[in-house]
């Protein structure tokens, strides 16, 4: 888990993203228990209600589910679901900005593809 929360974006969204990251990276496995709202609050030093809002966002999306009286768990199939969601974001956040920066520097599409290939080998 990363520290530091960006104060310029809703914190509950950032909490949801961090949990998704952990699921995608395999830190949190499917059917594993997720830390409690109070544990998130203590770790990130945020309001527990805000942490709960982030967790509930993932419950609504079917990535986490609640076992009454026990806690929150990672749903089966959560990893694929989270990755699909991120692929959309990847295009907007990385691909689009990369192309813009490339245009600014006068890099052609062919050169860009070449660069991506070169990057893969590393």
């Amino acid at each position: 888990m990363k520290q530091l929360i960006d104060d310029g974006r809703p914190i509950f969204v950032q909490i949801a993203e961090r949990i998704e990251d952990d699921i995608i990276e395999g830190v949190l496995l499917e059917e594993a228990q997720v830390p409690s709202t109070n544990q998130f609050a203590a770790f990130y030093k945020i309001n527990p209600a805000t942490a709960a809002k982030g967790v509930n966002l993932l419950v609504d999306e079917g990535i986490l589910y609640k076992k009454r009286g026990i806690g929150m768990f990672v749903a089966s199939g959560a990893r694929v679901k989270a990755m699909e969601k991120r692929k959309e974001l990847f295009f907007e956040q990385y691909v689009v900005t990369m192309i813009q920066e490339a245009e600014k520097l006068g890099i052609t599409t062919d050169q860009l593809t070449e660069m991506i290939r070169r990057g893969e080998k590393r």
Binding site: I11, I46, N47, K104
Partner: protein, 297 residues
């Protein structure tokens, strides 16, 4: 959710000067509120009315559904830690804590003792021999250990160092998680506390200026920086709260509209997009308000 405080059209006037005017708000149970605003904005006046230290000039003020003035049932549930709280000079720290123990029905003595240890407070020392920061620590310990259903801190950390302030936030959050209660925290150190707050109230010139969920404020604005002409073109039709020219560059803080792709568009136009912290946002919004007023006069 239950409302702990209900205020409608509240006003406090001193002669012709209105310290608080036309304030209507409600405080929900078990949330942490940040009461923010510039010096002299009316925050303390508002808190003094809520805790029945002074009378409102007009308007409705209900705390736990009742008028708080000389109302033991209501006042027993409140702990108000004032900025520069005074204690009898000849009291020792331990005497102050023992009186507090008698005063607050929910007082947790074990918790107060662990706080004294955390903050390194000398129990036997006389109040008048304490440093400014230590005096603030006494208030903080009382505010926390009282576990009052409605706890109000008015700029509680005069003279308190960064380590002690951090300790205060940590203990507050830990205890709040275990014993939820309504907390109003008035402070100028917005960046330090913003993550702890669930709801933000900003008072400006005696009036309620912002009454919003902290997280919805966080996404409210962003800053674009770049070539002045490009920035101006991007700003067309958008609400700007702050602008800062720098050579041929312009940096402008814009309120987010309903268009979610706005930031990407700015980036696509070659502008730098950065997020705006809660503190910056509130500073921009409150200064903008007074500027506008200046123009109209």
């Amino acid at each position: 959710m239950k409302n702990v405080i209900e205020i409608s059209q509240l006003e406090k006037a001193y002669g012709t000067f209105k310290a608080v005017q036309n304030v209507s708000l409600s405080i929900e149970e078990n949330k942490i509120y940040g009461l923010l605003g510039r010096n002299g904005a009316g925050k303390t006046t508002l808190m003094n009315m809520i805790t029945a230290q002074i009378f409102p000039t007009s308007g409705v003020l209900k705390v736990y559904g009742e008028d708080p003035y000389e109302n033991a049932k209501v006042l027993n549930q409140i702990c108000f830690i004032k900025e520069g709280q005074k204690y009898p000079d000849h009291f020792r720290v331990i005497d102050v804590l023992e009186v507090s123990n008698e005063l607050f029905p929910n007082w947790d003595d074990a918790f107060s003792r662990s706080l004294i240890k955390d903050f390194n407070l000398p129990l036997k020392r006389k109040i008048k021999k304490l440093s400014r920061g230590m005096l603030s620590t006494v208030g903080i310990i009382i505010g926390l250990a009282s576990r009052a259903p409605l706890t109000i801190f008015d700029e509680p950390y005069l003279g308190l160092d960064a380590v002690a302030r951090g300790l205060f936030y940590d203990r507050l959050m830990e205890d709040y998680a275990e014993h939820p209660r309504t907390i109003i925290l008035s402070t100028h150190l917005i960046d330090e506390v913003s993550k702890l707050l669930e709801h933000i109230l900003v008072i400006n010139d005696g009036q309620l200026f912002i009454d919003q969920d902290a997280d919805s404020l966080r996404g409210m604005a962003y800053t674009v920086t770049g070539n002045a002409q490009k920035v101006e073109a991007f700003l067309a039709g958008k609400e700007t709260v702050h602008r800062e020219p720098f050579g041929g560059l312009l940096s402008a803080t814009v309120l987010q509209s309903n268009n979610h792709l706005e930031r990407q568009q700015a980036a696509a136009n070659g502008l730098d997009v950065t997020s705006v912290s809660l503190q910056q946002l509130i500073v921009h919004l409150t200064t903008k308000k007074s500027d506008q007023k200046g123009e109209s006069v």
